[in-house]
């Protein structure tokens, strides 16, 4: 057990690392939707598939739902991102802050870029441009560029935070871009991992008839969605080990190797479940609740395994005695009970909101 994350860590560090992973999982649900959704919209926009005058295609149902739900997904992704952003500051304060500071303007640019993306998404669903395919295409591609920029910046920030040796030079040269050959493959891995999760969420939405999508249109979208999910999940599975393990020196600590391998095995099981869950959809029939549930469990396991391995790799680089001592000191600070109490109240309130609106929707239909 002492080689498995988080049992291989001192208790306070393990506590915050688990909180980080759990809250990051929540963020990833929405982040995947936004990252992959923006790419789907961008490609559709490039191919002139958006707008009421565009020729209906297999992807029409998907793009209709994406246009409708992307603004919410983006704000939910930002909101969900606050908690992991909080815990990353506790776990890796010096490294995270230093990487922020070194990237300076470039890093800070993600904020206005996110605001621009948010407003563009609203413009994309505005009635006024519903019939303007070219304009919709431009907006969709701009959104994709914005979201990819944010994704690239996060990957860059993460890798820079792990490479202490590069810090003085990066500072002295005032380099706006941190150049690391690992950035592009890592970004590619995140995109490949986000695509099947987004496809899964879209499949649930198609099944629920979200955004008033007709059943026939939803059925048409099933097969291409399944193909996209299957291809991307296999690409993600192949890329996972070199990308996650790649941040460690060639001869990494044996304990880390074991723990990373366990995380990867969990992710592997998740990939298998997803593949099995998606296969029936290749026939083009509407996806049932059971295969979708199986795929959802697979996606959860995949991300859990990946995030566990990612933290093991990071902590084996950053986790020094001084860092653990800081976690121990911070871990004595009160407030968890209040958080827990309000988390229960908050979840209850959200549950009531969902129930009330669902009831009203059912009554409406």
């Amino acid at each position: 057990m002492d080689q498995i994350f988080p049992f291989n860590l001192p208790a306070p560090t393990a506590w915050y690392a688990v909180l980080y992973v759990v809250t990051l999982l929540m963020h990833i649900v929405f982040m995947s939707y936004v990252l992959a959704g923006s790419i789907m919209l961008g490609v559709a926009g490039f191919r002139g598939m958006l707008g009421s005058t565009a020729k209906p295609s297999d992807w029409t149902a998907v793009t209709t739902i994406l246009k409708d739900w992307m603004p919410f997904a983006l704000s939910a992704a930002i909101t969900a991102g606050i908690a992991p952003l909080l815990f990353v500051q506790i776990l890796y304060q010096q490294e995270f802050y230093t990487a922020n500071l070194l990237s300076f303007h470039r890093w800070m640019a993600i904020l206005p870029v996110l605001i621009v993306a948010f407003y563009l998404l609203y413009l994309l669903k505005a009635h006024r441009i519903e019939g303007k395919t070219a304009l919709q295409g431009i907006f969709a591609m701009l959104v994709m560029a914005c979201i990819l920029f944010v994704g690239w910046s996060w990957v860059e920030n993460h890798l820079l935070s792990l490479n202490k040796a590069a810090w003085p030079t990066q500072y002295e040269t005032q380099a706006m871009v941190y150049k690391d050959p690992a950035i592009l493959p890592r970004l590619g891995f995140w995109i490949a991992s986000a695509l099947p999760t987004a496809c899964l969420l879209l499949a649930w939405q198609l099944r629920a008839g979200a955004s008033g999508v007709a059943a026939e249109s939803a059925k048409r979208a099933t097969r291409p969605l399944a193909w996209l999910a299957l291809i991307s999940v296999i690409v993600a599975a192949v890329a996972a080990w070199p990308v996650i393990r790649g941040v460690l020196p060639a001869a990494g600590a044996p304990a880390s190797e074991t723990s990373i391998s366990i995380g990867m095995a969990i992710a592997g099981i998740g990939v298998l479940l997803q593949v099995v869950g998606w296969l029936p959809a290749l026939s083009g029939k509407p996806i049932g609740k059971a295969p979708l549930s199986l795929t959802s469990a697979g996606a959860a396991l995949f991300w859990l395994g990946i995030l566990m391995s990612r933290e093991v790799a990071r902590l084996s680089i950053i986790g020094t005695e001084a860092v653990f001592a800081r976690h121990e000191r911070v871990g004595t600070i009160a407030g968890f009970v209040i958080f827990l109490a309000f988390a229960v109240i908050g979840l209850g309130t959200i549950g009531w909101i969902v129930r009330s609106t669902s009831r009203a929707l059912r009554a409406e239909r």
């Binding site: 919410f72 704000s75 939910a76 930002i78 909101t79 991102g81 606050i82 908690a83 952003l85 909080l86 815990f87 500051q89 506790i90 304060q93 010096q94 802050y97 230093t98 922020n100 500071l101 070194l102 300076f104 890093w107 800070m108 904020l111 996110l114 605001i115 948010f118 407003y119 609203y122 810090w167 003085p168 500072y171 002295e172 005032q174 001084a322 001592a325 000191r329 911070v330 600070i333 009160a334 407030g335 968890f336 209040i338 958080f339 309000f342 988390a343 109240i345 908050g346 309130t349 959200i350 909101i353 969902v354 009330s356 609106t357 009203a360 929707l361 009554a363 409406e364």
Partner: protein
């Protein structure tokens, strides 16, 4: 609390903002964020009030406003508010990583609790945005009340953290976060901000109803007068303002009461603008039931922005010389580190090289530039806004040495100098060189007598801040002739 940053000074790469003072960056963003966030919070409350007016038949036109783009505005502002909120975190890291790190360490559970409130706010806001047309009036009202409570709750939590920075109170000794959270300025600040939220939302509504062609002039007048009732708590603002003033530490109060003309001026801008807005609301809109057009409403909103800006400036400024009172100075150095840093130096162990070292004629200037970066750069530039060449350039060299050595007594809102006499002399030489427009050659100043004099002045000043009693004059600290430039 005895541990703050006691384990040592973490060196972060300090960025140069050019001629802009870092405080301008965080202040500018802070004011924008506060204004947006307060509008989102007050907007939720106002929508709940309008929903109640509409469903009880007291004001049928309220539904038109509620279902129009006012709700989009609230929605957009809370998303922008959320992004700028994250931006506040990121900007704080850029300006003072030590301070934000300490805040996160101490209040991470409070921030996590605030996060729960954000979630409820987002879900309630979107549910209303997407489904309000198919919901019953009771559910609509309940949803808006949930949104309002969640929005106000987020204010409640962040207000505790921000007011703790200024008046951490007993927390400094006990480390009990609830003693820090419910501090002396918590309640007046919370009530004051709550009213500000309501007034900002009311003024935005006054602008909005003037842009809606579906409303008649009579409808608009009635709605604006209803909104005036919503904004009436503004009459309590002076009370909470005075309470806040009374709860301030004495030295901080002295700054706003004339000790610092900038503080006094900004406070008066905030007070003056609030009085004008309050007077217009109470006398014009509520008592006389006047109508205001879009232009006047926009002007009042601009005044409210000015009041918020002035208030936020004062709130940030009166904390000096601290970012967290008694715990961290503005330059992220803890009071208990000062004595140690006077022994080992504030530049020792800084792993980040000087960017323009090659342009400096000697090593002493490089040491001075590093000292400037570590101790001064968070609030000062070299020659831009609040530039040291402007502030110190006219002083003689000995005056510069003494005034920096006795910094906390030179200006009460400055922290004590936390470096070696050699670093201080390097800083003085660096400022002299910068004032002389960076000549190509510059002789080093390595006289032992100069260092001895600086050491004597440093000892005389002590390591405590001006907010604490002045140490007794030391008889040995006599003037040593330095032969300064």
């Amino acid at each position: 609390m005895t541990d703050p940053v006691a384990s040592g000074l973490i060196s972060y790469p300090i960025n140069d903002f050019g001629p802009a003072m870092k405080g301008m960056v965080i202040g500018g963003l802070g004011i924008f964020h506060v204004f947006l966030a307060q509008f989102a919070i007050g907007g939720g409350m106002l929508m709940a009030y309008f929903q109640w007016l509409a469903m009880t038949g007291k004001e049928p036109a309220a539904r038109t406003v509620l279902d129009s783009y006012f709700k989009y505005l609230v929605l957009v502002s809370f998303v922008t508010g959320a992004v700028t909120g994250v931006a506040m975190w990121f900007t704080s890291i850029q300006i003072s990583p030590g301070t934000i790190g300490k805040m996160v360490d101490v209040f991470h559970w409070v921030w996590a609790t605030e996060w729960i409130f954000f979630w409820v706010e987002v879900v309630a806001g979107y549910a209303f945005y997407r489904y309000s047309k198919i919901l019953s009036d009771r559910t609509r009202l309940a949803l808006l009340l949930v949104y309002s409570v969640a929005g106000w709750g987020s204010l409640f939590w962040i207000n505790g953290i921000l007011s703790w920075q200024f008046t951490p109170g007993e927390w400094v000794k006990s480390g009990n976060i609830w003693q820090g959270f419910f501090n002396a300025t918590f309640w007046p600040s919370l009530f004051y901000r709550t009213i500000a939220c309501m007034v900002i939302a009311g003024l935005v509504a006054a602008v909005i109803v003037n842009t809606m062609p579906a409303l008649s002039r009579e409808d608009r007048t009635r709605l604006i007068n209803r909104t005036a009732r919503f904004m009436l708590p503004i009459v309590l603002m002076p009370l909470f303002g005075l309470w806040f003033l009374a709860a301030m530490p004495e030295d901080s109060r002295a700054w706003v009461m004339g000790g610092s003309i900038a503080m006094t001026l900004f406070m008066n801008i905030a007070v003056g603008a609030s009085v004008l807005i309050g007077g217009y609301i109470v006398v014009g809109l509520w008592r006389q039931k006047l109508y205001i057009n879009g232009a006047t409403a926009t002007l009042l909103l601009a005044l409210a922005f000015g009041a918020s800006a002035g208030g936020e400036f004062v709130r940030e400024g009166v904390r000096k010389p601290y970012t967290i009172r008694s715990v961290l100075y503005s330059n992220s150095i803890a009071p208990e580190q000062v004595a140690h840093l006077r022994e080992i130096g504030c530049t020792t162990g800084d792993p980040f090289p000087l960017r323009d070292a090659a342009s400096m004629p000697n090593a002493q200037l490089q040491l001075g530039a590093l000292t400037f970066r570590n101790q001064c750069a968070v609030c000062h530039t070299v020659s831009g806004v609040n530039g040291l060449t402007h502030l110190m350039g006219a002083w003689t060299q000995d005056q510069q040495r003494m005034n920096v050595a006795k910094l906390q007594w030179t200006k009460g809102f400055m922290p004590p100098f936390a470096g070696t006499p050699q670093e201080l002399e390097g800083l003085v030489q660096f400022i002299q060189w910068e004032t002389a427009k960076r000549p190509a050659t510059w002789a080093e100043s390595r006289e032992d007598r100069v260092i001895a004099q600086i050491k004597a002045w440093l000892d005389e000043a002590g390591t405590g801040p001006a907010t604490q009693p002045r140490p007794p004059e030391q008889a040995s600290a006599t003037n040593i002739p330095t032969g300064g430039r």
